[in-house]
Point group: C2
Chain length 563, copies 2
């Protein structure tokens, strides 16, 4: 999220899109060359974007993974992607062979709230307009595959329902990459016998489709195929799960997704290669770029900077426990992005007062950052705090932070990546280099011990809950998981990103609370059990004045008002 330009240090504040449009890009073949990717492996999409065939990438540099995560998110925004991009460019500036691996933005929110997901200021990945609009079509491919499956389910029932699917128990929803609250709850199949079976259902945004999670965790095309076949689409009248494989849908879906599985190569404004690939949510899914992009990036560079969504309690935990689990990844370093504003917000300051100096609030809110740092150490990494500076930060606040870090015993460096790009993160880069540890990262729990034990461990170690309570429905779900053999899958906990607890109003670092598990859903395709601890919105709505109102194109095709 590009959040820093409103009070950037520049006298004439340009928007992210203006900065990106003024930037001269290098041809994608030059970027590929820097990454050691031969022409053979490169599938260009225009002059500045390409897909890469991982099987044709010759190098294997076994790059070290540096995970960029953050404090609990606040409405002010922390600039996590922006920091990641600036930091990677700083590595490049230091003569290191570095690469970016990030998620793709979702089109729906681009049209909704002002803000994309390609960094900001002078720390962006470019061409930002393409990346934020259709890019190379991965999301569209997922939408197609998702809705082809939905059509095949309903058609199966319409044509005689050989599999005995209960139309009331279809769990597979359609999806669209648009913010459209009217699609959350719909009835389809109206109009009489020629037009299908009336069904209560809904649409999610494409990023929330299980197929997005599958694309994110598949090791290769065969693995993708197998996971797609294992998707549970609903249940029979006698409550047996029905899979996409039983509907003969996995082959067609794989055909629709085979190009989407190839990582997308672009560049940072510092000319560093960047893979931007996959975009699963960080609550109902694991929230990071594809495994295949991360692994390809490891072949192409010595240092791979990758991100986990939301705060470290959600994104980083899932990175270690789900993505690393399936990809057998070793994480060599972790960066926790924090801002003085976010710490004050966690200290109880109202959003409108965040620009005023407030050392007391810092002292009160710092517990949030401390907790995230402590938690990350449990995964075997040595986290570094990146303090992403804003112009409203005062010298005394900055000094307070420096002293805190020394006292707490964590490396902290300031970064000015929005305004300065890689030049604003060179000290941070050196500190990150000094804090890499190889071969030590680990997951927190062993999924084989069962979902209940996994949730218990995460709740205790990461959320610092005193206990876990299951609703009656969730208890029943647990039984079903055990009966179906899905009980040994990793757990993906869907929890508010604003608090360590499941109550979004409990800022700072709550402890001793109760984690309420409402529902457990086996995502048999993605390969995790989704544990819902609160209401989750999987289809956003547009605000009163959507960003789409201000987007326009001139006669030459230049996009205006994108951000």
């Amino acid at each position: 999220m590009s959040t820093q330009h409103h009070d950037s240090p520049k006298s004439e504040v340009l928007t992210d899109v203006e900065i990106a449009q003024a930037h001269t890009l290098e041809p994608i073949s030059t970027i590929a060359f820097k990454a050691g990717i031969s022409e053979d492996a490169l599938i260009p999409y225009g002059k500045y974007m390409a897909k890469v065939d991982p099987s044709l990438v010759q190098d294997d540099k076994q790059g070290k993974i540096i995970l960029v995560t953050g404090v609990s998110p606040t409405p002010a925004g922390e600039g996590k992607s922006t920091t990641l991009i600036g930091l990677t460019d700083a590595f490049t500036n230091l003569g290191k062979d570095a690469i970016v691996a990030l998620r793709e933005p979702s089109l729906g929110p681009v049209m909704g709230l002002k803000g994309g997901a390609a960094g900001g200021g002078y720390s962006q990945v470019v061409p930002m307009e393409n990346i934020n609009l259709h890019f190379t079509g991965d999301f569209h491919a997922i939408t197609s595959a998702n809705n082809t499956l939905a059509a095949m389910i309903d058609n199966h029932i319409h044509q005689g329902n050989e599999l005995n699917i209960d139309p009331r128990r279809i769990t597979w929803q359609r999806c669209l990459d648009v913010n459209d609250r009217s699609l959350r709850n719909v009835v389809t199949g109206l109009g009489g016998p020629a037009h299908g079976v009336p069904t209560e259902t809904g649409f999610t945004i494409t990023a929330a489709s299980e197929i997005m999670a599958i694309l994110g965790l598949a090791n290769d095309l065969d693995d993708l195929h197998e996971r797609l076949a294992q998707i549970t689409v609903g249940f029979t009248y006698d409550r047996k799960p029905v899979t996409a494989g039983e509907l003969n849908a996995a082959g067609a879906m794989t055909a629709l997704l085979k190009d989407a599985l190839k990582p997308n190569l672009v560049q940072t404004m510092g000319g560093t290669p960047a893979f931007i690939h996959g975009g699963p949510f960080a609550n109902i899914a694991h929230g990071c770029n594809t495994l295949i992009a991360t692994k390809t990036a490891q072949k192409c560079a010595d240092y791979v900077f990758t991100e986990a969504g939301f705060g470290a309690d959600l994104g980083a935990e899932k990175f270690f426990d789900i993505k690393s689990h399936y990809g057998d990844l070793d994480v060599a370093g972790a960066v926790v992005v924090a801002t003085i504003r976010s710490i004050k917000y966690n200290g109880g300051v109202d959003r409108s007062d965040l620009k005023s100096e407030n050392l007391d609030a810092l002292a009160k809110g710092i517990v949030n950052l401390e907790r995230h740092v402590e938690n990350l150490r449990k995964f075997g990494v040595r986290p570094v705090v990146a303090l992403n500076l804003f112009t409203s930060d005062t010298d005394r606040e900055r000094a307070w932070m420096a002293k805190w870090a020394k006292d707490f015993g964590v490396a902290l460096e300031e970064a000015e990546v929005w305004a300065k790009g890689g030049k604003g993160a060179e000290k941070l880069a050196k500190t990150v280099l000094d804090n890499l540890v190889e071969g030590a990262s680990s997951s927190l729990y062993n999924p084989e011990e069962g979902v209940e034990q996994s949730i218990e461990t995460i709740a205790r170690e990461v959320y610092r809950a005193a206990d876990v309570q299951y609703s009656d429905a969730a208890r029943k779900d647990l039984e079903n998981l055990r009966a179906s053999g899905a009980d040994a899958l990793p757990v993906c906990i869907s929890k508010t990103q604003y608090s360590f607890s499941d109550d979004p109003s409990r800022l700072g670092a709550p402890e001793g609370h109760t984690l309420h598990v409402r529902q457990l859903i086996p995502r048999t395709g993605a390969g995790f059990v989704l544990a819902l601890t609160g209401a989750v919105m999987t289809m956003p709505g547009l605000p009163k004045n959507p960003a789409a109102n201000n987007i326009d194109v001139d006669s030459s095709g230049n996009i205006k008002g994108l951000f």
Copy 2:
């Protein structure tokens, strides 16, 4: 539609996808070079596909347009695209500078019934798997723009409804590129006040979106923008039309469509350049590739082969009266594709008996072809009949056809394009060359005289109806058209493709019938008035055994079972 391989003359019958996969493609830069398109204007999508920026195409060869159309379609299929591709390759073989301009296939039917829309046998455009799946994402961009508009309409109402839109009179539907009958009639906005306003609505397939028609008729980006703004999305409580422009949606939609407006360049199996761009239906829209692709093709080659959907009564009429009207095109030649099977079918032979010799049926069914030839002459062209041969055609049937042509006074040549590619159409090519007439093509009516007069003219001159009857609703629509100023737009008649009349069972060449106009819909964005004369299905369903069941991908990414 690839229809000929089931009884092709080859001893081992390969499928279209197998033939295409065995073919060695030339790099897209080579194809662009042949078309006089510089690297500057070329936006590659992989190694064998590209978008072309029309404003950067330097040549202006003012290519002659040759319109390929057909007899009334039959379930046996005529192979119109296949003939067009083979014919164009034949021109290339003769040393002529020729190019293809065709529509893009729709993904929904690819997953439904066996059959794509990229030609067949040795007369295909390639890479056929890409063209038939996501291609360069144009359909997805249309889906996005269409559904962004839908979300903005519903959001406007949800957020206070300043424009006073009547939710019961929203005419804008959502769309998806999937065959899904369950989406024809849906209720959205359920779930309470936070989730929108309950609305009865539906989805069309993407090809049926008005945006597809708009993309097909826009002359440039500004024209696209203007047309999008003029889309009527519904009506206020006091029955005033509401446009996309009033919702401030046109800019965002243009941003989503700006790349989709650029024509896609691929190649035929004969190595001839081919633009494949846009895919509007030929009943509820005008049924041909984009105007911008045709005009760009005219800059790139001396002979431009382009197609009109369905039979000449629907596709060709709309080509002359809508597409040529907006693009000021001159059509130099016309080819009517016919098969011995289709003529026998129009002579009353059952589909299962079409392979048996039947001279009586030929004599009876030939009136259909005669009528199409006569009609085409009214547009100022000198049509040539291409008899697309099948292995079941007998020598006596072929001789009968040759004699008929001589007697009737029309040039006829046989073509064997499925099995032989361009080599199978060289005589046809020479005959087409001999029958070009420049500067003589014209439209049939003057839209300024009003919709009623235009319909009257088409009904009399093309359909040979004795009269036109309007339903009460259509009479009311006529009044509204006159009041709103839309009465001077060209007319797009949606009629069954199987008959010259509005009754699909009346094969051959019916006359003296009544054309029933049920409804008139102003498509103020596309710029025509849609006249419905029967039930139109704008969202297909999947058959009992959808093609998707057989599609698969091997570990290397090769698609199997596509056709």
